[in-house]
Symmetry: C2
């Protein structure tokens, strides 16, 4: 009798994502294009790496004094300090008061995993997680796997083709007391200071625990401070919160998953307690964080010349993105594409919505071999001089053929 | 009224380990010594790094063709292939039959975390974990945190000063049907092929699921095949199992936590199902594994010349350890220390039991500032030409002063 497998009841897992990429890879058409890469691309269609990263990596690998011993579970002290100062500014009130700390995690998934584990144990009121962002975030999965009930909200309004701050207000209104609110990329939600104050007032009354996500500081507006400003608001209003900080994307070292779970507490005593408990969870997760990425980043951030070079490289990326978006918009206008395309340049960052409907996206994928996700959120750095004409031409065709559904009319916008 | 902290009920976590290191660091005595480092040390008292690793690291950082994009969640295919071939041999039956696979994990803790999560969901019979090893393993904590009931067993017999294979048999006898048996470092348990067959027969009858731990292949006997031989036995007897493979220690890149959760299934179909489910868990844990360590290791393993250099460097480490142990034993003998010290050279690997009792260890720590864990299991590579005399002199003193409790008598051994 043949032995039965221990794994006989294990089914093939459904792929959670990547099916678009899979279809793209299976496509034999020689001029196919994939516009949904996660990473920032160069004009040459290669993943972007800040030049200063290459230089620093080489320098580190030539350093004979370095050993590769285990680093502490919490991470290298110098790395954590540099990361937190980048996020809050050197003279941040919370840093001066010694009530901000962090744990080096394996990427931002690691940060949400660790934070989620901690909150499950030590914040029992909040077993519901509300996530608000400009797109569906992978962190929903992390919280769901940990047993949380997860509700997700997107600030992008596909009818009006803009980020809608009302979503933010309505979520904060409906969210039950004591819940966890994951605040993703909402840079495009332009709120006045007064609106922020109102929002924070409601959150405080309802004891909502904020868990921020800063996945690519500097790659939204090109201004490092501006991209993390939301944290300052919450610090100055006396909030305690978690924040997932990823440093992989803004340095272009995607393959190292350098993250920090940032903790802001009311005082140093609470901070130390929280960090000590986080250590216990980290020991079971991966024991010691991987350090190559952290070493590179620390070397850059703690050296003013390198730091300057890095900031400049970020600025160039952002200027390039702006230029691409302007060109896409202009070409669509010249092609007489119906509707206003201002939403393209109104969105910040590498990724943004084209504002196409499912039918139009389907046309691009099937007829034009241009792989765009169903929600039409693309990575604009995938567009460059050699493909922009084909892409804009195809978008224009798609809109002409299928009608301008979901588009703001140019006339109403240009008033 | 001052705001109450969200974290007000969070206590300071008890340190799970590292208290000996902490006491050592607080000790002001200039000639203090710490003999319990986890990593392999050189004769100069520095963490060991295989020379070929430094060279390869430099080479990789100079490669302009490399981008640092995300690698697949499962890990780089070339890395996984090289790691599995190292573990099982290129011509392993299971590899040829395409029923061995792996997932790149963050260190061995990551491998146990991932494997533990999978088994909790898909191997519901086995919610009890038995761990057997030559020392207390940190993985117990991982399984406990996941909700398993954990029982730990040590093969070291402190009275008889040897590894006791009876422990292995008695654990397999008492373990309930369908449980998980984590088999750690039991290289020192010399079992005949017949004994292995008997053991595996019982395990098969009771449907015990083996979860092996190969934390430093090549650093026990100096022979890569010999150190992973146990896996071959289980493969050839048709077992399905998991194995945590760590490649950090045997390459000397401790700070990268390069691990693999190895899966052996009855056939390729089951393997693919298991790997697909593991992907889902990995996505929530860290999404993409860090690659620097994996790149270095893959470059070395897939290049025959570098592979040879690496093997040679392992051999040198092992020869050096043997030499240190011989010298320690000889010096203790010359000092007229009561008892037989053969157990020192009888143990394989960097770490081993001195065979001292708590009183003797206490004497070393308090009077001699030589920091040795309570169970007297030390890292022999912490002993070198410049401290061996002080250390052996102190051990001898400790034994003379407190009596030879726990030691085999030299006479009974020399018969």
């Amino acid at each position: 009798m043949p032995t039965l497998s221990v794994f006989m009841d294990v089914p093939l897992a459904q792929k959670l994502e990547g099916s678009l990429l899979k279809t793209y890879k299976q496509d034999d058409y020689p001029y196919k294009m994939f516009l949904a890469y996660r990473v920032c691309m160069t004009n040459e269609g290669q993943p972007w790496v800040s030049l200063v990263v290459r230089k620093t990596r080489l320098q580190i690998s030539q350093d004979p004094s370095l050993n590769y011993e285990y680093v502490p579970t919490v991470g290298m002290a110098s790395f954590l300090q540099a990361s937190l100062e980048l996020l809050f500014g050197k003279h941040s009130q919370a840093i001066v008061e010694n009530r901000v700390g962090g744990v080096h995690t394996v990427g931002d998934s690691g940060a949400f995993q660790l934070g989620g584990q901690f909150l499950r144990t030590w914040h029992k009121d909040g077993q519901m997680v509300y996530i608000i962002s400009s797109q569906k975030e992978p962190h929903g999965l992390v919280f769901r796997d940990l047993g949380y009930t997860v509700y997700e909200f997107c600030i992008w309004n596909p009818k009006q083709l803009c980020s809608d701050s009302n979503v933010l207000f309505s979520v904060v209104q409906q969210i039950p007391r004591g819940c966890i609110l994951v605040i993703g990329n909402i840079v495009d939600c332009k709120l006045s200071l007064g609106q922020w104050a109102k929002l924070m007032g409601t959150m405080k009354n309802k004891q909502i625990f904020p868990f921020f996500d800063i996945p690519c500081q500097g790659l939204y507006t090109g201004d490092l401070e501006e991209d993390a400003k939301i944290l300052q608001y919450f610090v100055s209003h006396g909030f305690e919160f978690f924040c997932s900080q990823s440093l992989s994307r803004n340095f272009g070292i995607y393959d190292e998953g350098v993250g920090v779970l940032v903790v802001v507490a009311l005082n140093n005593q609470h901070l130390l307690c929280v960090l000590s408990q986080l250590m216990a969870f980290t020991q079971a997760l991966w024991l010691n964080p991987p350090t190559t990425g952290a070493r590179i980043i620390t070397s850059i951030l703690s050296n003013p010349a390198l730091h300057g070079e890095w900031k400049q490289s970020l600025k160039e990326v952002i200027e390039n993105i702006m230029l691409i978006k302007e060109k896409v918009k202009e070409k669509l206008r010249l092609l007489g594409t119906p509707g206003s395309w201002d939403h393209i340049t109104e969105q910040n960052g590498t990724h943004g919505y084209l504002g196409l409907n499912v039918q139009q996206v389907d046309y691009l994928v099937r007829k034009k071999h241009i792989y765009v996700p169903k929600n039409s959120r693309i990575n604009f750095t995938c567009i460059n001089a050699s493909n922009i004409d084909y892409i804009t031409q195809s978008i224009s065709e798609a809109v002409h053929l299928t009608g301008g559904a979901g588009l703001r009319s140019a006339s109403s916008e240009n008033k």
